[in-house]
């Protein structure tokens, strides 16, 4: 797979994956940063962590999402950002699946208070699909903007 990612089509696919995940994280982070209180309440409603942890995560997690989004979009440390975002997405998917398993009727909290949405297995599937895109970015040889440039031909061997 990594060989294909080095082709022109592969590099375009990696860039699209990077921008998609970055865009989703950016879209998710901004409303949470604007209203950390609502996000902390959303975390607390999952009953997975103590309230004190929900308070810290309510303020800190959206900023981490923003940093990850900017790194992915800018193509700076994109593979590292993809690994971190994949970890976050898997944690979110686990929390959603646990709430669904227990039939807890909670707001997703995925995109802040302004975009309230009831949780469902489609939310879990969305997170897993984004995780797959993160994996593509993480394994790509050069997922940054430099990777989009045409490759120079290797210099001929010296006679």
């Amino acid at each position: 797979m990594t060989r294909w990612l080095e082709t022109r089509a592969g590099r375009v696919a990696v860039a699209l994956a990077r921008l998609t995940v970055g865009g989703v994280f950016l879209f998710a982070a901004l409303p949470k940063i604007a209203d950390p209180h609502a996000f902390a309440v959303a975390i607390d409603n999952y009953h997975l962590v103590p309230p004190q942890v929900a308070q810290v995560a309510g303020a800190a997690l959206p900023v981490l999402e923003l940093v990850v989004a900017l790194a992915l979009i800018a193509g700076v440390h994109a593979r590292g950002a993809a690994v971190i975002s994949a970890g976050m997405l898997l944690v979110f998917a686990g929390a959603l699946a646990n709430a669904l398993r227990l039939d807890i009727n909670v707001d997703c909290g995925c995109f802040g208070a302004a975009a309230r949405s009831e949780i469902g297995w489609d939310s879990v599937a969305r997170n897993l699909a984004l995780t797959m895109l993160c994996v593509v970015v993480a394994v790509a040889p050069d997922p940054g903007w430099r990777g989009m440039l045409p490759r120079r031909a290797a210099p001929p061997p010296a006679a």
Binding site: I33, Y46, A60, V63, V83, N105, R116
Partner: protein, 161 residues
């Protein structure tokens, strides 16, 4: 691989530092105090914060305690077909409220455990627990997994009224 690990640590360090700084500067978001609040089945709503969960095995260990009461949030028909032994029927989906007689019968209980079938889109037991907590019952919890988990564990159930 090492380069990916280094990049991950850098992104994580920058994000965590800025996130914690954001919390320190703006203040940590306050959570609402626990309160009993009825939930609606229709829309996306927050779970009842004052109601805790109880695992099936924990509930079963307490089942013989006369001061522990089980409340069935399912419909009257489902209750008649089979329910946790000694449970009280409170089919809130039909009426949206808990009858005074049900609340009166639970007044002496030190612990009330609400449950439903968990298969519907609506968390009836959580809603019922919220209503009971608002009615002043001191310790109301929701059974994890509801009736299916109770039966799967082989715990006692009975049919009829």
């Amino acid at each position: 691989m090492k380069q990916i690990a280094n990049e991950s640590l850098r992104v994580l360090a920058v994000g965590a530092a800025l996130g914690l700084g954001h919390g320190l500067v703006r203040g940590w978001p306050a959570l609402p105090p626990p309160q009993a609040e009825a939930m609606s089945c229709g829309g996306p709503v927050a779970a009842e914060p004052s109601v805790a969960w109880i695992r099936c095995d924990e509930a079963h260990a307490l089942a013989d305690d006369a001061a522990v009461a089980f409340v069935d949030a399912r419909s009257a028909e489902e209750f008649l077909a089979g329910h946790v032994t000694r449970a009280v029927s409170a089919p809130i989906e039909d009426t949206g409220v808990v009858g005074d007689s049900v609340i009166a019968s639970l007044r002496g209980a030190r612990l009330v455990i609400a449950y439903c079938d968990t298969t519907g889109s609506c968390a009836r037991s959580t809603r019922l627990a919220g209503l009971l907590a608002r009615a002043g019952l001191p310790d109301v919890r929701v059974l994890e997994g509801g009736m299916p988990a109770w039966l799967d564990s082989g715990y006692p159930a009975e049919a009829g009224p």
